[in-house]
Amino acid sequence: MDSVFFRLTLSLYLVATGGFLYFILKRNKKAGIWSHRILILGFVLHTVSLLIEYYRLGAVPCLSFKSSLAFFSWAIVAAYIIFQARFRILVLGSFVVPLSVILMILSSTIPISPVTVRPIFKGLLLPVHVTASLLGDGIFVIAFIAGIMYLIQEHQIKTKRLGAFYARLPSLNILDSINYYAISYGFLLLSIGMITGSIVAQSAHGTYWRWDPKEVWSLLTWLSYAVLLHQRMAVGWRGRRSALMAIGCFFVLIFTFLGVNLLMEGYHSFESLEGKPAP
């Protein structure tokens, strides 16, 4: 059974999702504002539930597929709240919040399995590694969503068919700025996550880098975003190209998050994290 906090969080996120969808459909600003408030309340509860888990386990609650989905969802909402505070476009919530709610629902459908917390999971650096990596991923979700929004809006303006989204989506300039900020900060956090991760690995396994599938794919993700950032800053890529590339990089990231953990073996896979012997 999931904790009360988890269930409360999920309910609040569901209400916020409904509100955000109503907001984008009916363009009812009040619905948007209230959904945002409800979401923040849900986020606070979510944070509390994660902290409780952290103290109970003595390790970051990210050791099973179930808990890492919920943690990822938390990271996405956190990233959304940060970007909402900076750019003030509620419509972002209509795209982002449904996504994080889906992750929460997925997480809630997976039964709780006992986790063995090995000593390596304790300590201060591992939480930094996990939080930075996942928060970075959350911010990349924002870049991905802003990219999709950009493509929709740009397509409408270029083809001169101003459909239902024209009035609902923000200006291209804002969407492009979100892309830029999201990629910069996401990249920074991902870098922190990888560096701290390798330090943890050094202390646990005696080596910084083991060519574990997760590590390899993380490096690929990191490189993809590095290329995108470079193209933006040095070559002057903007708008459509940058949006497309943010979407492309995101697929690499998702594979790193899901595919590697579920399909490949290695010490990052959940089976190994949960303390079961790899098959």
Partner: protein, 429 residues
């Protein structure tokens, strides 16, 4: 029974030559008010006069007579014979009059659906009516309902949502590309009404600077002065393009001025910062292919017209929603109006009972000389509360009927039952 009536004409029923004759300026208005006030049996009234419409909204208990007098008044002011004037007028009464004024206020009856000025004009007309004390219970409530409904329609439907003029649509597009227009640079090539209007809107949105290029340099200097910008010669255009964000072209050049290759070069220099061409010229000044370059957006006059047509269609679709809101409000207001009609009967009923009980009380008390003042008060209290309790159910019933239909019948029965008109007995005997 009191009725609300609206007599008027608008852009659909009367040609501008007639409307002109009846447009009351500030001076004529006082005189007109005076004349309307002189109409016999008119109770409350309001005069709305804009370039597209003239409306006289009033309440009266003698509808037919006042209607004729008002038409006579309009005929006299306009100098048009009654027979000729009448077909140009519309006359609405009761629910139709309520609906009409709601629709006018909400800009559903305007030439350009959803245009914002009309509400201000209606408010001004009401203000004058209040100042001259020609508006009272019914019109006060009607007008306040009109204003709040208009506001609700404006915020809850898209009736005034999208741009319906070329220049405005262009500026709206610019905002969807650049977000904030603050600090953006504008280049105006050629001149013309639409281009200048667009430039004016952009200036209102706080663009940083406007450059003006024209074949005749002196014309460019004139325009630049008008927009607090600076004039440049035609040869300088390519050099300036990297520094501006919005380009409005409307020159008479037979060949495109901005070519695909040139635009590509410029975008390289701009490091792909977005560039928006508003090409109002025919034939076009910007090669259409330029729109294919990333971060460059080209809208020609047909594109903008297409958007406006779509927007007008959108407003019409939204108007359906607005009409439904009007319908609801008309029902609510009519219901309120009907409860108003119950009031005199209820009052008379209360007065009659009061009279009877007071009369009986006095007769009884005059026979009971040795009562203490407390006991007398007790009797009085009893009489009062009997009156109140006895009448409670009938009053609630009548008020309830006021909100539904069949009210006339019950009012009639109540008046007969309690003989409020003082003639029932003679009828029966």
């Amino acid at each position: 029974m009191i009725r609300i009536v609206d007599i008027g004409m608008n852009h659909e029923t009367a040609p501008v030559e007639v409307r002109e004759l009846l447009s009351f300026g500030e001076k004529d208005r006082d005189k007109a008010f005076h004349d309307i006030q002189a109409v016999k049996n008119i109770k409350e009234y309001l005069l709305l006069s804009t370039c597209n419409r003239v409306e006289i909204l009033f309440t009266t208990e003698r509808e037919k007579q006042v209607r004729e007098s008002v038409i006579t008044f309009l005929s006299r002011v306009s100098g048009i014979a009654r027979d000729e004037l009448t077909p140009l007028l519309y006359i609405y009464d009761d629910q139709e009059a309520i609906r009409h004024i709601f629709r006018v206020g909400a800009s559903l009856d305007s030439m350009m659906l959803g245009e914002p000025q009309i509400l201000g004009q209606v408010k001004e007309a009401y203000r004058i009516a209040v100042d001259t004390k020609s508006s009272s219970v019914i019109l006060n409530r009607l007008m306040h309902r009109t204003f709040s409904l208009a506001k609700r329609i404006r915020t809850n439907t898209g009736i005034a949502g999208s741009a319906v003029s070329i220049s405005f649509a262009a500026v709206e597009l610019a905002k969807k590309i650049f977000g904030d227009l603050k600090g953006k640079g504008v280049l105006l090539m050629g001149a013309g009404e639409m281009a200048e209007l667009a430039a004016t809107y952009l200036l209102k949105n706080k663009v940083a600077r406007i450059l003006v290029a024209n074949r005749t340099f002196s014309r460019a200097v004139d325009l630049a002065e008008q927009f607090q910008g600076s004039a440049i010669s035609f040869d300088e255009i390519e050099g300036q393009l990297p520094g501006v964000d919005i380009v409005i072209t409307s020159t008479a050049s037979p060949e495109p001025i901005i070519s695909f290759d040139q635009a590509k070069r410029i975008m390289k220099v701009r490091k792909n910062r977005p560039l928006f061409f508003i090409d109002i010229a025919v034939p076009r000044n910007v090669e259409p292919r330029v729109n294919e370059i990333g971060n460059v957006f080209v809208y020609d006059i047909d594109d903008l017209k297409g958007i406006i047509d779509d927007n007008v269609g959108k407003r019409q679709a939204e108007a359906i929603k607005a009409e439904r809101m009007v319908d609801e409000e008309v029902l609510k207001f009519s219901a309120w109006l009907r409860t108003l009609e119950v009031v005199p009967t209820i009052k008379e009923l209360q007065q009659k009972c009061e009279r009877i009980f007071q009369g009986e009380l006095q007769r009884t008390l005059s026979g009971l000389k040795d009562l203490t003042p407390e006991q007398r008060k007790g009797f009085e209290r009893m009489a009062k509360s009997i009156t109140k309790k006895l009448l409670n159910d009938p009053i609630v019933f009548l008020k309830g009927k006021g909100e539904r239909g069949s009210q006339d019948l019950y009012l009639d029965i109540a008046r007969k039952l309690f003989n409020l008109d003082g003639d029932a007995r003679e009828d029966d005997e």
